[in-house]
């Protein structure tokens, strides 16, 4: 085939008629207008119905307009794009709604006083009281649980990925999988039966000791499998070529793991740990079972009942006092802010170790 005939025959048109850039916005505005008229004039409904009708009108209108002007393929593209955006908005709406409610209701009572006092001696008729004791409890329990689970979990994952071969590793993986699904109340019962009722009496003159430490143990049971699994995934993502590069320099295996593999996986491991911490901070059931709760401040995690923020929210939400719901919202907001700032801090810390790009 000669060059000339080739170029003559295959002179392709790359241009196509397109809707102007403002078309979607215009269709959207028209859809909202028509929907509002159709809904509000007969008094059929409110803003929710309006937005549903407007969304449908927008889809149909844009699809029709695009079919006429641009043709079928472009129209399908526009409709599909709109559907993806709609799904995104739908998925985001509950999240935004929760966040908004939490901030508006929670910020009413959230102040220095609330963060600085406990519930000791606060009666149902007092517009007083705060969450200081609960913050202490959450920090101590989650902190101890993190101290226990991070070394165990990371080392366990290192064993599974770097050393484990054959039966034992498969067995451990299986149990970790099973443990991932453990309901928190079962973890609480386990610690109640094992630690509080059997082990703790040995240190407490034969009487069972309910404590924040017991709650931390129960939270550890919940956190450990999450940390093992996420660390395992992150370690598997580290390319084998890096390990081989290190071995080829005569670097022993354990140093390869601690100095090359773990630092490479660190940001991902930190994310996994923070997910586990966030989950632990939100657990209520095990804390009720083994730490009982306590309206007063108790700094000692090893002795006596202790509250936690999630337990506090649960208690206040169920208390017959007109001041209690406000306290519950404020504590819920405190919990979310606490977890959020811990997560951000951990991520910054993990990134600080990485080199500036």
């Amino acid at each position: 085939m000669s060059v000339a005939s080739h170029s003559a025959r295959s002179r392709v048109t790359l241009k196509a008629r397109r809707l102007p850039g403002w078309a979607p916005a215009g269709v959207g505005a028209a859809a909202i207008l028509i929907a509002a008229l159709a809904v509000y004039l007969p008094g059929a409904g409110g803003p929710v119905l309006t937005s549903v009708v407007a969304a449908l009108l927008f889809l149909v209108g844009l699809g029709a307009l695009s079919t006429v002007v641009e043709g079928g393929r472009a129209a399908r593209n526009r409709v599909a794009t709109s559907l993806v955006y709609a799904a995104f908005v739908l998925a985001l709406a509950p999240l935004l709604s929760v966040a908004l409610t939490l901030v508006t209701k929670g910020s009413e009572r959230l102040n220095g006083y609330f963060l600085g006092v406990s519930m000791k001696g606060v009666s149902a008729f007092d517009n007083k009281g705060g969450a200081y004791h609960a913050i202490i409890g959450t920090l101590e329990q989650a902190g101890i649980a993190t101290l226990i689970t991070v070394p165990l979990g990371v080392l366990g994952a290192v064993y599974i990925v770097e050393y484990g071969r054959g039966r034992l590793a498969a067995l451990i993986r299986f149990f970790v999988d099973v443990m991932t699904g453990i309901p928190s109340i079962v973890a609480g019962l386990f610690i109640l039966a094992f630690w509080v009722l059997v082990v703790s009496p040995m240190f407490n003159n034969g009487r069972p000791e309910y404590s924040g430490f017991a709650a931390a143990l129960a939270l550890s049971v919940l956190m450990l499998p999450t940390i093992v699994r996420s660390t395992e995934e992150m370690l598997r993502l580290v390319p084998g070529a890096l390990r081989e590069g290190a071995y080829a320099l005569g670097i022993p295996k354990w140093k390869t793991i601690t100095k090359i593999v773990l630092p490479t996986a660190a940001p991902g491991i930190v994310t996994g740990v923070m997910l586990a911490v966030a989950r632990a901070c939100g657990e209520t059931a095990p804390v009720i079972l083994v730490a009982l709760g306590n309206p007063a401040i108790n700094f000692n995690p090893f002795s006596g009942g202790q509250s936690s923020l999630s337990l506090y929210v649960y208690e206040q939400a169920g208390t017959a006092s007109k001041y209690a719901p406000g306290r519950a919202w404020a504590a819920a907001l405190t919990l979310v802010v606490l977890v959020l700032s811990l997560t951000v801090a951990a991520k910054l810390l993990a990134r600080r170790n990485k080199l500036a790009r």
Binding site: E244, G245, Y247, L249, G250, A266
Partner: protein
Amino acid sequence: MAKRIEAVNVSAYYGAFRAIDNISMTIEPKSVTALIGPSGCGKSTFLRSINRMHEVLPGAKVEGQLLIDGQNIYDRDIDVTAVRRTIGMVFQRPNPFPTMSIYDNVVAGLRLNGVRKKSLLDAACEKALRGANLWNEVKDRLNRPGAGLSGGQQQRLCIARAIAVEPQVVLMDEPCSALDPISTLAIEDLIAELKNEYTIVIVTHNMQQAARVSDRTGFFSIDKTGEPGRLIEYDDTAKIFTNPSVKRTEDYITGRFG
């Protein structure tokens, strides 16, 4: 300084699969030996059995003897890390450590083997980078990440990292196959210089490269897939490329592969 390598009836396995069969060859100190042959004929496998990297893979094992200056590195009382420090390796794809700076990459082998003294590390870093022809390009940004360099620079960084631990032998597995012609030339020049101090074994798919850089050439081949790779011919590079004594070698290097 540089060491003589003697392979005696070396066979290597991946599980039950025998990848190379009864390879025997002697590699002279301070020389460049090229290993050529079609894909899958066991060049990498043989190379990796020279510094005991083969056994890193699960189920992989080596039979036979590999003597470095008369000492079998597969003896029971051999320290594997010492073997690997003596016999360095450069891989096909550059693999700098992503969390480390250029400096840290180069001194990783020393530092993680217990060298702490800053002055020693500094000196070793500069020496290795100069040896790898990279010093002038990176001397102003030693604490920038190693992964930020170009592909050719990364490969030279890996060479610097390998020679920083002062090995006697450097093994290179297709070190230029991921690189552009200019970087390839830089590395070939480098090999010619390294030859003065180190014993070098290089696997390459590039016949001209083998002819340019090596003193001796070994031609590996397989009868068919699933069969183990064998050493077909091993001789001076000039002889292999002008007057090979085995027909298969001639067919391979002239492009009539059979």
